[in-house]
Amino acid sequence: MNKAITDQPAGQQTSSVKLLSAMVGLGMLCALLIAVTYEGTRPRIAFLRAEALEQAIFQVIPGAEKTTAFSYEEEVGFRPKADEETAALYAGYNEAGELVGLALEAAGQGYAGVIKILYGYDPQQEVVIGFQVLETKETPGLGDKIEKDPNFLANFEALDVQMAARGDSLANEVITVKNGEKQSPWQIDGITGATISSRAIGDMLGESTSKWVPIIQQHLNQLSKDVLPQAEGS
């Protein structure tokens, strides 16, 4: 009896106004803390990301010594990216200033969130020549095999993205097939145990290449010369 009396008021005394104000107050405090940290770390994170992106570019374009970011507009085609524009692709040039490959970003829904990759494209051979994962939340040990599985990575030594004879689209779109069923050079051998993640890579590559490869081939002359001298200073 006594116990019931002492227990009850404790439960009822707290009005919903107090509950609400406590939660809202706490929420605002937490939001403030996060905002301060975000603002404080943003420049450094942006710098590190840019550095990591540059490293990734040199990894997906073998033989590249210099790289330039290009933006794309439908009327003008490609031109060196201005500061505030977003880059459409990155061109890699060798010592002599000749184009050795292009690096493009692609993104798609994986198993746990968006996967962002950077892939290398060789416009002369018309093949994809490798990729680097920029961002992933895939399950460690399963989905992250897309970065580690040697058999899977072997798909990207020369993944066929040839133009069709008519010249306005790809001959065959890149697609992920079940592990062990790869028959054509435009197919990606999937990973058992990482079906969704490996299919996501194929889907985003397929989508990105069928959009960009025709555009690149059409405007290849705008990319084929190194324009670094003036771009480097900026």
Partner: protein
């Protein structure tokens, strides 16, 4: 053999007599979060495949634990009983987000190798259990000591696992090769199964030690 053990015992007991030392030390040994309470097993098993990962994960968790303990203890009169768990989770999630940004600002590759496990610190039951069982009932000062002890205990435990797994699985420690070139590494140790083996091994050793200690106390 018995005597030094007893002496050591007395030494620890004398130290432990002061309550604040006890707040700190209990997390290191007596109530070690991993080896005794067996809490927060997800990161313990998942990211201890190298000593460096284990250290980074341990420090990140310890930081979140410390900050959330401080805030929970400081706000304990302000947070109504009915919404306390939600409030604790909110506080913990805030500091996990902050840690996430901080680690990104330190190193992109470290952030990549710890991956999703940083955000999973939110659901590490060690942190919530310290908030609910300790920080919500004690002063800020004692909560800091508790968090430091528990956090350090967690770091040490993760290092124990990460060290053994990296040593056997890759033949190195913190990236330094310790074995000759022809060392055949035990790949299984850096795979998830190795985490279970190593954890079981440590629990086995610690339980043997505890049992022997118990016996000497009972006989003496």
């Amino acid at each position: 053999m018995d005597k030094p053990a007893n002496n050591e015992n007395n030494f620890w007991q004398n130290l432990a007599n002061s309550p604040s030392t006890n707040d700190f030390l209990k997390g290191l040994w007596k109530d070690n979060p991993v080896f005794v309470q067996v809490l927060g097993m997800c990161p313990v098993l998942a990211v201890t495949n190298t000593a460096a990962n284990a250290l980074a994960m341990g420090l990140a968790t310890a930081f979140v634990l410390l900050m959330s303990n401080v805030l929970v203890a400081a706000l304990k009169d302000f947070i109504p009983k009915q919404v306390r768990i939600a409030s604790y989770i909110l506080i913990i999630a805030t500091f996990v987000t902050i840690t996430d940004y901080a680690i990104q600002a330190i190193s992109v590759s470290l952030h990549k190798s710890l991956g999703a496990f940083i955000s999973l610190i939110v659901v590490n039951c060690l942190i919530l259990s310290r908030a609910e069982a300790f920080a919500s009932k004690n002063t800020v000062g004692r909560s800091i000591l508790d968090a430091l002890g528990m956090g350090l205990g967690f770091v040490v435990a993760l290092l124990c696992l990460g060290g053994v797994r990296e040593l056997l699985g890759s033949g190195s420690l913190f990236g330094w090769m310790l074995f000759p070139e022809n060392f055949q590494s035990w790949i299984v140790m850096i795979l998830p199964a190795g985490g279970f083996f190593t954890l079981a091994l440590w629990l086995f050793l610690i339980n043997i030690w505890q049992e022997r200690k118990q016996k000497t106390i009972n006989h003496g």
